[in-house]
């Protein structure tokens, strides 16, 4: 992966099937390019804060939006959310939580930590589009023509 290219969407998801379904929904929306995947919370934070394996990356290269699963190995989603929202460099990045259910505890905690929207899994295109509308991110997903690589 090119360390310098601009990443628009970071998906943090450990379940392979969920990840595949989410990627499929994005693909249906023609958004497969500029997507970065993190398989656990630690990897997600390394990526966002350009640490560890991603130390060479620049923070201004994104991501522009983060799709975050809550139940993650190593560092869980709420902790990742907290770190992102607590850091002035990253707190403006919209975070969409991918929820498995309507567990009240998760919803309350997420809101407390400043989450921007929810998508209940499995992620399909309609729901993803609705979430994007919630975020008012037309500039990112609708108004900018996707750049198709290769």
């Amino acid at each position: 992966m090119n360390e310098n290219h601009i990443v628009e969407i970071l998906i943090v998801e450990d379940t392979p099937q969920d990840l595949e379904l989410a990627l499929r929904a994005l693909k249906k929306a023609n958004l497969t390019n500029r997507i970065e995947v993190a398989r656990d919370g630690a990897e997600a934070m390394d990526f966002v804060f350009c640490e560890g394996a991603h130390a060479g990356r620049k923070m201004e290269n994104g991501p522009k939006v983060i799709l975050l699963d809550l139940k993650l190995p190593k560092v869980d989603g709420l902790e990742v959310l907290q770190r992102i929202k607590a850091d002035p460099r990253t707190k403006t990045i919209p975070v969409v939580v991918l929820t498995s259910s309507k567990e009240q505890r998760d919803i309350v905690d997420s809101y407390r930590l400043g989450v921007n929207s929810y998508i209940v899994k499995p992620v399909n295109f309609e729901r993803f589009a609705a979430a994007v509308q919630d975020l008012g991110m037309y500039w990112l997903l609708l108004n900018q023509p996707p750049k198709v690589e290769g």
Binding site: Q17, L21, R24, S101, E103, R105, K121, P122
Partner: protein
Amino acid sequence: MLQNVPIRRKVMTVNFLISAAVLLLACAGFAGYEVVALHKSMMLSYTTRAQIIAANSSAALAFQDESDATRILGALKTDPRIMAACIYDNTGKIFTRFPTNAPAQNFPAAPGKSGYRDGSLQIFCPVVQGSRTLGTVYLQSDLSALTDLYHVYAWLCAAIVVSAALLGYLLSRGLQKQISVPVLALAETVKTVSRRQDFSIRAKKIGNDEIGSLTDAFNQMLARIEEQNKSLRESESKLRTIIENLTEGLAVSDLNGQLTHFNRVALEQHGFSSLEECRLHLNEFTNLIELSTMSGTVLPVEQWPLARILRGEPVSDLELRVRHFKRGWRKVFNYGGTLIHDADGKPTMAVVIISDITERVRVAEEIRKLNAELEQRVIERTAQLEAANKELEAFSYSVSHDLRAPLRAVDGFSQAVQEDYGTQLPDEGRRYLQTIRDGAQRMGTLIDDLLMFSRLSRAPLSRRLVSVEKLVGEVIEEVKPRQPGREIKIHVSKLPPCRGDAALLKQVWVNLVSNAFKYSRNRDPAVIEIGCSCGISENVYFVRDNGAGFDMKYAHKLFGVFQRLHRAEEYEGTGVGLAIVQRVVHRHGGRVWAEAVPDQGAAFFFSLPTGEGGNGETKL
């Protein structure tokens, strides 16, 4: 000197002395008079005789006839009392004498004056012839005549005095009874009263004199004393009855710590069988019993309640442990007491009030022990419950995330096949795919319902006043649009507000109203009735429909989780709705039940307590 003599003798002595003095005085006066009179009459008698002799002897003198003169004088010998006699001539020389042989010195040398002298009566009488004095006659008589009379008078006086005294004695003996008998009777009564202490005796009244008044006054005094004694006895008896019937023990001590009285309860408390046994000094009690504080410190006798009361310290509500050395029993007594003062404020005795609180203390200790045990158990159970709750939470959290992942894969990839390869599949294949997706989604719903059920059981209740009418209105508005094209008549009666958790109660109403809509969907029109019957302690709300109903013999299964009375093809559902209703109502302290007739309709009732502050939340 008569002070200590009985009054009877006093009266008699006085009488006797007075009469004796009067008699003596009278006799003395009489005797004096008689002596003077006798002297005079004797003088007169002898003077007369001397004058006779003088007259007779004048011739003899004139003629100096001595023998004649001697003869005249000789006549005197008839009178033995004449001691001597003589005739003087006018020169004063003894002319003749009688008795003739009497010596001349027996006669006065010359005539003198008449009178009593030398224990005899001497009479001089001149012999006169014409105007010439011829000589003087002299007579000397002894006084034996007087002495004889004196003796007679003395005897007479003595006889009079003795008989008068005798008479006086007899009279005063009779008369003194008038005074002494009433006085003595009174004195005897007084003695009897004081000896027998019997104030009912009365003195007999004799006469209306001063002693009579005294007797009356004395009797009145006795009556007063008797009356006062009676009322004193009555009040004492009342007091005694009260003291003996007190439920507390009462002990009385003098100011030296000598116990004088125990009432019945106090005797029982200390194991005494008679009043005599308790009459000990405070110090002697230390050989019988031991007093210690509630925490077990043995008290020296100076710290015992009575000792403190005697020192003037007020004692109240002092709880002490008591141990009887010989009998071995242990009790707990509550002590109180005070010094008792007389009207002048001087302390007269000490009173100790004793309550046996052994049983109370034992029960209190038992309760304390049980409470401590209970508290410990509550702590343990709470910890267990908290652990179980945590486990359950972790479990349901895990269920909600992990159990769904495979389902999502089933549903998501089935959808992907439908979308990407649907056109390449035969109809049968597409139907199978749809069935797979339906199954997966139904399982998702089941998991959601189950999680909700578990969450409703655990979430804390936030009770506040809830307007049921508003709540039901909202529920109907939410549920109704899900039933398009149906004619449904809904009657909502007046619904009183209740206290409870609005969110949970809304879930109850949603479930009941949805059920009513669901099971009446084959009716045209469907009639749904919502109402409440208000009671004092609880309000019973109900939802009635004219739908499918059910057989009452399965009513007991209605509220169980996943229990269904209808086949899934007839009426969809997970069988969790009524279980949620029951759980929420129970947690509000209410009850839930149903009545139904197959194919005619069902009515679901639930009660909520009206009492504010809640009758306690029934957990799980």
